[in-house]
Symmetry: C2
Subunit: 227 residues, 2 copies
């Protein structure tokens, strides 16, 4: 469902060239629970951003759900992001002027097939599942770091996407909250067949993954399959 | 060196009142390596912000290095923050238009007693110690999440403060990078007698701490001393 073929990402920084990804190839099947692990700065977020169609490779091909996204125009990519992908950002990227529930509802409004009553129901359900039922009206500035992370998680899951990209989703969570979130995600993976791709430093996520992809200095250095 | 006496923090949210801290009392000696642990939303950041003089208690007293900060004016607090406290924020709070090294240098410029050559030396030293020697010229937008976190760490340590407040400083770091940072901090604690107060979900930080303060729903629920 996700094919990355010989993807490289290079940046020009003054006189120097920084290579964030070098000739990376990965293939992920529908329904996998895959984890990307590696040191800080090794290229995990860069790779997830390619898959999430919010960044463009310098070279190579990215194929999402059978569609080659390399060279597509912004409207086509926006459509793919709205209907197929759910992204939990490392920096959350919540809208500060909206409440938690309005933030979770926001991407659902863009999908015309979901009527208002169904939207409200999903928002309440996912906020509850991440333990934020009582905080629905708080705005991001009135929430703790881990609470904001959980709003970002609820927002990505509420659209029932085919592929969920989770960039260090447990980084700001205590052990128990993180455990609850991971169990929820595993359930969605088991029952709906949703594909999950994590970037993580959390040993628990790596243990739950059916595929562990190790990255270092922008290159894939190992892969373990754990069916 | 830090005394919190019957501190409460309440917010008004529309019709409801949210109690972030309730009647919290804590005393921390100079030279301690103390950790504050508790679930997401339990009040850790709120308490650290009180100690760091960037937030004001609704009731109770906060005494830092012998000085009662309750009711002080902004200039006096700014002076305390510049010379006595180092803060590693949960959301990093780097200046996006400055490079990594300029971000680390920034608080040092405010301390007149540090001449320019010494400033440059310290910035290079701490960036190197957190593994970012090669990234000194990158701006925050050109860094990974864990790299930004490490710039925030270097910035807090470079002023050689008496008290370092670290709000989940290893959240975005892989195991090895986090380990290096914690060893650096323990060394500074051993050799300079710097007081460290962490908010953390990381079991390693809790294990290294000489005092573990457990917080839940805005109240202290336990304390373990581990000399
Ligand atoms: N705009 C940019 N210009 C130059 N270099 C960049 C830019 N953006 C990212 N980089 C570099 O690309 C590399 C990979 O970054 P990336 O964010 O993918 O790392 P990561 O594996 O997600 O790290 P972390 O675990 O710390 O989040 C880093 O070394 C970073 O400094
Ligand atoms: N401005 C505000 N208005 C209302 N409630 C607030 C406000 N700021 C924080 N809170 C609430 O105060 C509580 C404590 O927040 P705090 O940020 O201290 O938690 P924390 O222990 O640091 O959590 P985490 O581990 O997730 O970072 C949270 O439940 C939060 O929703
Ligand atoms: Mg990252
Ligand atoms: Mg916090």
């Amino acid at each position: 469902i996700v094919r990355i073929e010989n993807v490289s990402k290079r940046y020009q920084l003054g006189e120097q060239e920084v290579v964030a990804l070098h000739d990376v190839s990965v293939a992920i099947e529908a329904g996998e629970f895959a984890a990307l692990a590696g040191p800080s700065g090794s290229g995990k977020t860069t790779l997830l951003n390619m898959i999430g169609c919010i960044d463009v490779a310098t070279s190579g091909r990215v194929i999402i759900d059978g569609r080659d996204v390399t060279g597509r125009n912004p409207d086509e990519l926006a459509d793919l992001r709205a209907h197929t992908l759910g992204f939990i950002f490392q920096t959350f990227n919540l809208l500060p002027v909206l409440s938690a529930e309005e933030n979770v509802e926001y991407p659902l409004i863009n999908i015309q097939s979901v009527p208002r009553a169904e939207r409200r129901k999903r928002v309440a359900y996912f906020l509850d599942m991440v333990g934020l039922g009582r905080f629905a009206k708080h705005r991001p500035g009135q929430l703790s770091g881990g609470q904001r992370q959980r709003v970002a998680i609820a927002r990505a899951l509420a659209t029932h996407p085919k592929i969920v990209l989770a960039d260090e989703p447990t980084a700001n969570l205590d052990h128990a909250s993180g455990e609850g979130i991971l169990q929820l995600m595993k359930q969605i993976n088991d029952h709906q067949g949703t594909t999950f791709i994590f970037s993580t430093h959390d040993a628990r996520v790596m243990a739950m993954a059916n595929r562990l992809i190790r990255i270092s200095d922008g290159a894939i250095v190992g892969e373990e399959v754990n069916p």
